[in-house]
Amino acid sequence: MSHRPARTTVQPSRRALRSAVALGAVAALTLTACAGPSVGVGSSDDPSADATDVDWSQVEPASEITFWSNHPGQSREVEQAIIAEFEHETGISVDLVTAGANYDEVAQRFQAAAQTSELPDVVIASDVWWFRYFLNGQIMPLDGVLEHLDAQAEDFQPALYADYEYDDQHWAVPYARSTPLFYYNRDLWDAAGLPDRGPETWDELADWDEKLRAEVPQDGSTFGLSTGPSWGAWWFENMIWGQGGAYSDGFDLTLDTPESIAGGEFLGDLFGESGIATLSADDAMVDFSSGLIASTIGSTGSLTGALEAASFEVGTAYLPDGPAGGGTPTGGTGVAIPSSRSPEQQLAAAMFVQFLTDTERTATFSESTGYVPVRTSAVESETMQKIYESTPQFRTAVDQLAEKARPQDDARVFIPGADALLNEALEMIILEGQDPATAFETITPRIETAYSENVEPYL
């Protein structure tokens, strides 16, 4: 018979428990607490005032700056190489900080750091985030300083540079920019006896469905896609535009027009009755690379990865049109400069931004990632011409941009949280087979609230 001590460690006292409880509960509240705003002002001060008043010729650039990036398209090494060149050329050192794994994380960190001194000098500003930075007065207009540096802003691809324009000023410059592309499995296409090109219209893809389905594995499909924030509502723009609809006209939501609802119905049919498309569990590009689905839509930024991962010939094409045409949204990210930094730092930052997006660096960056060259001169550069010759898939994005690009609907890119809500409506249609009119109706008041609370008072 053994005797153990009657009480050991795990008999916590009531008082100890109480303290533990208090501490634990308090932790729930501390999540949202950070530096506070000033209260009582309806709209923010004009952030452009400071930057436009600066006489840049009187400013000496700072010797050290910080760049917050998520290294889009696994570009950390390229970014570092570009920085090394910049440091060598100018003597200004750049601290490259991984400020998040994606655009959203960088943006969240940047917003949380507002009103602190822990701010970068150059920051990633994606298509759905830069306007929020602008609304909060966190970034400066770049026109003046770029002109002073003779950065040739007019050489940026017009469709891409115009994306950052508001109040007749540009608040960022294009950096890692992309469009969605139609990716197809050329081997399967060949086996199905189809021409080596993407479908010109969604109807054509439907016509090809029977032949393609005979070639894919049993649980595969002709076309596949995944949904998700910062993604679903992006590619769906092509489909809703294809039916003549749009998310919004300016800031006025147009989700209840017959054309927009037709867009929703098209989506429902694509994943539902017609059986042409299946929803990929996580990343459709994985299903595509494994041969499970014969085609998909992916960002241009995924091109290099797709070419490496697939064991078959990958084809790229424009996004298919609908009865009312279609077009492609542009996306990806630009770079912006915070408004609260000193003019010295802003000037150094602008010099870096200029260097990062000059013709040569643009070509280098595009070559290693697949992102669209943001400068017209870079598209025509020798580097890019060589790439287009050896890997013609790279060319599709550039041509599509020139021929089919259309600015994104304001509701998606300018209203905080609207992108996630739009994606929610798409999931209601795809996952639950909900009636598109009802799905759009459900999210409309929530987007309107977001606009009236988070955008309107600040304009």
Partner: protein, 295 residues
């Protein structure tokens, strides 16, 4: 006289010794708490230098928002399933580990290991396991002729998935605490029960479980607090989706604050969570603890 002076001196000593900790507590715990309460009365875009005072407007919105019911239900299901599941399975695991078998200490270490892993890493890893097309789980289910559910997309499977992963991660902790509790049950009581002819089940029910009530109570309180504040696994696995089906109160706070930028509203939701936790724990302290038996 002397007594009073000595007392005063003792008080100074106490303050001096506790001071640094108190200071940290006030600065990093209570100050943010009060600030958050203040923020909950504002309509404020995260990052903006300006805000508008809206009084209790954010609270009114929370209690009338169409998504509130869903968020509360999801939080309830998640909490009950994870706390209940962890207590039952953790106790079972502890009873297993309490036996004198070869390799016992290795088994204990293995059981506890998931608890010290990062929730985010665990979430990502389990995503691979749950993958309905390529995952390990669909393979295993295939052996017994069961088709894998669509873990990522068909409700309620995404919620089931995060609950399973939460349980897996925290089971070791619960088992360890129970194990310590089990070892504190006096052997003579067990022996006496055996002499009186009680079998294993009877001994467990009448001797062991009642004597474990302080441990159970401790676990109930701490697990409830931890479970209601789960963030990492949900963020890594489902981001609150699809269609908000895994959005708990805690995740909603994050989403409103950092995704939608509505820091004032998020602070109001955080305050609601805070008050809920406080209330639940107060009830536990008052009523549940009465049923606790100490040796």
């Amino acid at each position: 006289m002397l007594g009073a002076r000595r007392r005063r001196r003792a008080l100074w000593w106490a303050l001096l010794l506790a001071g640094p900790n108190l200071l940290l507590l006030v600065t990093f715990t209570y100050r943010p708490l009060l600030e958050s309460l203040y923020l909950s009365t504002l309509q404020w875009n995260l990052g903006s230098p300006d805000a508008r005072f809206v009084g209790l407007g954010n609270y009114a919105e929370w209690f009338t928002a169409p998504t509130t019911g869903r968020i509360v239900t999801t939080t309830l299901v998640f909490t009950v399933a994870t706390v209940g599941g962890a207590l039952v399975l953790g106790l079972a695991l502890a009873l297993l580990l309490d036996r004198k078998v070869a390799g016992r200490s290795v088994a204990r270490t293995v059981a506890f290991a998931p608890y010290v892993l990062s929730g985010f890493a665990v979430g990502i890893l389990w995503l691979f396991i749950f993958d309905p097309r390529y995952g390990l789980l669909q393979e295993v289910l295939g052996w017994v002729g069961v088709a894998s559910p669509q873990w990522y997309s068909d409700r309620p499977w995404p919620l089931v998935m995060v609950i399973v992963v939460y349980l897996w991660k925290n089971l070791g902790y619960v088992a360890l605490i129970y194990l310590a509790g089990l070892q504190a049950v006096p052997q003579d009581l067990r022996d006496a029960a055996a002499l009186d002819g009680a079998g294993r089940v009877r001994t467990l029910r009448s001797i062991v479980l009642p004597l474990l009530t302080p441990t159970t109570f401790f676990l109930l309180v701490t697990m409830l607090l931890a479970s209601m504040q789960t963030f990492d696994i949900i963020k890594a696995m489902t981001q609150g989706g699809p269609l908000g089906s895994t959005t708990t109160l805690m995740y909603a706070i994050y989403e409103e604050s950092f995704v939608n930028g509505r820091a004032g509203y998020a602070s109001a939701v955080a305050t609601v969570l805070f008050i809920t936790l406080l209330a639940v724990t107060a009830v536990q302290m008052r009523y549940v603890q009465r049923k606790v038996h100490y040796v």
